[in-house]
Amino acid sequence: MINEKSQKSIRRQKALSERLQKISKSKFYLIQDEVFKYFGLFCTILGIAVLIVFLFNLFVTAGSRIDWGFLTNLPSRRAAKAGIYTAWVGTLWILVLTTIIALPIGIAAGVYLEEYNKKNRFSSLLEVNIANLAGVPSIVYGLLGLELFARFIGTGESLLTGALTLALLILPVIIVSTREALKTVPYTIREASYALGATKWQTIWNQVLPASLSGIFTGMILALSRAVGETAPLIVIGALAFVPFVPTSVFDSFTVLPIQIFNWVSRPQKEFSVNAAAAIIVLLSITFMMNGIAVYLRHRWQKKIKW
């Protein structure tokens, strides 16, 4: 520790003495500094600029392809007749089901970890495990869903399998954001509640959770917007690209927008590529809208509550 520190200070001294020797060239350094500022700005904007160019292209290619028929037609082998009705209804189903499964479990787990968990080896095991789960590639969750839900429990290639798989996938995100939101509730609020004779659960339910709700929802929406865009795990559990009917129960097979897009992109005909672009516009509208809501919620929440 001391050695590290002294090494650092030696390094620092070195860096500084170099500066001193070159002090005569300081004008060059000022220009260098100024140039880097604009280069840094350029790099920051680069990715966003590329995205904007691509989005613009998308609208040029497919803006006119989106009409009522595109949204309400069933899939078809003829590109011009094909629509995304089953796909967006499937996405909606998945969104609702995943929320129903993941939200209560995620909040409950987050509350346990933040409010009940004592600092011991078990709790650090739980925390490391959640951090690890967050880093598992989404396609591996697909393999879990395929074997555990679709085959072992026997829910098949259904909406339920898809929602369960995605719920497990976003659980770590919800748990982490729930904990972050709970952390923002000051201890004094809990203290005041306990002092009035409230039990731990009464305090959490009546004071802590309501006070952190918008934070929790922000995290939840961000997690769901990720789930909406997920493709790989759903392909692995066997969601199909061509579903000629709209699912009516959780045991029906399904497709979602990203899979429909993947399917159209994979076809060589240009007309399907245009369809893909049109479906992408719809999908992006959904994800951007969800992200927008999350940003708005977070903004309002940070503004409203000043402890």
């Binding site: 620092r12 500022k37 009940y116 880093g135 555990l148 994800t287």
Partner: protein, 289 residues
């Protein structure tokens, strides 16, 4: 009494995360075990051909890993330098107002679904690159690699920014006090001091790129090939899983089990990388606290 029941319920929900991990490990282990009953582990890690879907079956994972490695390498070569520059710009140069606009806009890059990036890579980037490199194949690792690099840019830049923030202020002030410019301070003092934190961002970027599926599945092709030529079609480990899953491979066949062996490899590699990053992160946080 009621309190105890609630606590147990909450605990159970937290334990579900442990069960998830155990579930993943069990599923991968069981099916991989079945796979390795028929294919020797030695062949799996040394054979240079991957052809489980052909009549002449060979089970060498190296071609898939080289595809994964190649696309990952390209993505990281894009994301790490640019991400670091962004982090330095945002933390040292950008006025507060500019920063408050740029940082959330950067996050949009991470919010775009990967299947969309796949489309961009295939339909926009590849034809554009072909106009520069006519020898570039329609499926290649260069264009999805570049696209992936842009996708993980926010991850690298925000983690690097965290690392730069963790550097004690006195180092920075010491440098400024001697007349160093922001550029000099950033590169000669801040970046070296934040080295392990920046390493964390690099490792997590690698881990993310390895597990990324849709971009490469759409734009890199489905031809397992042991190569480091970014211009030709390759197949990554993740793409292979997608390829088998979207086809009609019968369950309980050896072809079906291959995806679990491949999934196991992905899981182990990302697990190791993630844990190295956790360890490094704890180390650098301890250094300055």
């Amino acid at each position: 009494m009621k309190e105890k029941i609630i606590e147990k319920l909450l605990l159970f929900c937290a334990l579900l995360t442990i069960f998830t991990t155990l579930g993943i490990i069990a599923v991968l282990l069981i099916q991989s075990f079945n796979f390795f009953k028929e294919v020797s582990f030695f062949d799996f890690v040394t054979d240079t051909e991957w052809t489980p879907l052909f009549s002449n079956k060979r089970y060498g994972i190296l071609p898939l890993l080289s595809g994964t490695l190649l696309t990952t390498l390209i993505a990281v070569l894009v994301a790490v330098p640019i991400g670091l520059i962004i982090a330095i710009y945002l933390s040292e140069y950008a006025p507060k107002k500019v920063r408050s606009i740029l940082k959330p806009s950067l996050e949009i890059l991470a919010a775009v679904p990967t299947v969309v990036y796949g489309y961009f890579a295939l339909v926009y980037v590849t034809p554009f690159l072909q106009s520069i490199f006519p020898s570039l194949s329609g499926f290649n690792s260069l264009s999805p690699g570049l696209m992936m690099g842009i996708m993980i840019l926010p991850l690298v830049s925000s983690l690097s920014e965290d690392a730069l923030y963790a550097v004690p202020k006195f180092l920075k002030e010491g440098s400024f006090a001697l007349g160093a410019t922001r550029f000099q301070t950033a590169w000669k003092v801040m970046v070296p001091a934040a080295f392990s934190g920046i390493a964390v961002s690099v490792i997590l970027a690698i881990s993310r790129a390895i597990g990324e599926t849709m971009i490469v599945a759409i734009a890199a092709g489905q031809q397992p090939r042991l190569t480091f030529n970014p211009f030709v079609p390759v197949e990554t480990a993740t793409t292979y899983i997608v390829q088998v899953s979207s086809g009609d491979v019968p369950h309980d066949s050896i072809e079906y089990r291959t995806i679990f062996a491949v999934g196991m490899s992905l899981f182990v590699i990302t697990l190791i990388l993630n844990n190295i990053s956790f360890w490094l992160k704890r180390k650098y946080q301890a250094t300055y606290s």
